[in-house]
Amino acid sequence: MGLIRLAILVTSLGLLPTAVAGDDPVAITIASTTSTENSGLLDAILPRFTARTGFGARVVAVGTGQAIRLARRGDADVLFVHDRASEERFVSDGFGVERYDVMYNDYVVVGPASDPARIRGLSSVEEALRTIAATRSPFVSRGDDSGTHKAELRLWKAAGVNPKPASGSWYRETGQGQGATLNVASGMGAYMFVDRGTWISFKNRGDLELLVEGDPMLFNQYGVVLVNPEKHPHVQAEAGQAFVDWVLSPEGQDAIGAFRVEGQALFVPNARPGKPEPATPGR
């Protein structure tokens, strides 16, 4: 009876969590980034969205590049990422309805406490990057086409340094998310470009320290876009629009501003006023 019993055992074990496996009746899928998910922001604000509108929300957290590709294929209802140029292209290509500013945070440069390139306290991130390159100090890049990676590449360009030829020597591309890359930086005592939210909530810092911050070039804007239902008819447009409206409304903006990790605000809401109130209040 062995196999049959095993089958029964496995099946009965499997029957337990059917409630977990079941799908919510109306839940939107938000393609977002590791920075919003890993910092805990979405966990903190989504319950308030659900309480207000009655719609559930599920988050697929990947890099901005991958999130946009998911949304292009129609595998998400809402895009919530941070690379303005790609978001606008997403809309102009017809995949998104309209893009709105939601909030911003900023990037910082972290590195080993010993600071071999001596960049601590520099006010110019370009100068910091030039110094890192000139001293050939280890620098870890995401290398994964994410919003953070694209922002990093823009800064290298602005600094007049092309790090690509150094790939594999002092410039190391992990091809992974922000947290995994921070683990690498912390393990090898390397410099890294990271968003402040991820940095503050990251626990395995080792001897990494925040070295450069405050340069206006480090500004990081987040945007929200409803995936175009004309392009992908199955998109849950009503629920998706309700999320866009809510996150831009005073209530959504307050929820973002009130989010704290270890006493620090990670994101600053900056939706332009005059956006509509949540479409379905008290639903």
Partner: protein
């Protein structure tokens, strides 16, 4: 060493606290991997036995292929299933992407070759042992399949457990097709990947210990079932 101690403490806290999120994650892991295992066994066991007992041109090539497929990288399986189940893909209309169904499909594809390849070996060895006897009873190889599967059930047990181990421990496929969505598609391995990326290494490792504990419990339960079965039949252990 400090972080290992922290990891044990985290694992202990999770288990003792019976954290409802953790229970849901463990439950979903067992559901996804268990279901894919049942489906993989339904196909892999008979197919493996048939491959063991039949002779046809290209059979060796099929065996090499099936054996090679045991080494399929989970993330490749994940990508294939993603492309097929994506809204823009051929089966996008099902709406299975980012649900446990997609995860079951991916793991099913991943472990069917394992169940098939290992059961082929088991049945082939048994056939070598019993060929004469079965032939003298007039049983053709194909008709002998149920008998041989039944006779080899204790060895096949280990085969099936190998498939389960592969499924419950893999992260590459389920994170691509499931999306690691909290309270929907988050399983043990993707939760571990998430905590690692948050830099919470003790919690990640603690979850790893819980996963190990679940695997031990499943295998112990299977061994118990097998022992009871053997005792009821008054049979000696065969594998």
């Amino acid at each position: 060493m400090q972080s290992l101690a922290d990891a044990f403490r985290a694992a202990f806290g999770l288990v003792v606290g019976l954290d409802p999120d953790l229970l849901a994650i463990v439950g979903l892991s067992l559901w996804v991997s268990g279901t894919s295992l049942v489906l993989a066994s339904l196909i892999g066991l008979p197919a493996g036995a048939a491959l063991a007992l039949t002779r046809f041109p290209g059979r060796r090539l099929v065996i090499v292929l099936v054996n090679a497929l045991m080494g399929l990288p989970p993330v490749v399986v994940g990508l294939l299933v993603y492309l097929v189940l994506s809204r823009a893909g051929p089966l996008g209309g099902l709406g299975w992407l980012f649900t446990p169904k997609a995860m079951i499909v991916a793991q099913w594809l991943l472990i069917t070759p394992i169940v098939m390849a290992l059961s082929r070996q088991v049945v082939e060895d048994l056939w070598a042992e019993y060929a004469e006897q079965l032939a003298s009873l007039g049983a053709s190889p194909l008709r002998a399949i149920p008998t041989l599967l039944w006779d080899g059930r204790y060895s096949l047990f280990t085969t099936v457990l190998a498939g389960f181990g592969r499924a419950v421990g893999e992260v590459g496929a389920v994170i691509v097709v499931g999306g690691n969505i909290a309270h929907a598609t988050r399983v043990m391995t993707t939760a571990i990947a998430l905590e690692t990326s948050k830099g919470d290494l003790p919690l990640a490792l603690g979850l790893g210990f819980v996963l190990l504990g679940v695997a031990v419990a499943v295998n112990a339960a299977a061994a118990l079932v097998r022992e009871i079965g053997a005792r009821q039949e008054g049979q000696s252990w065969r594998s």
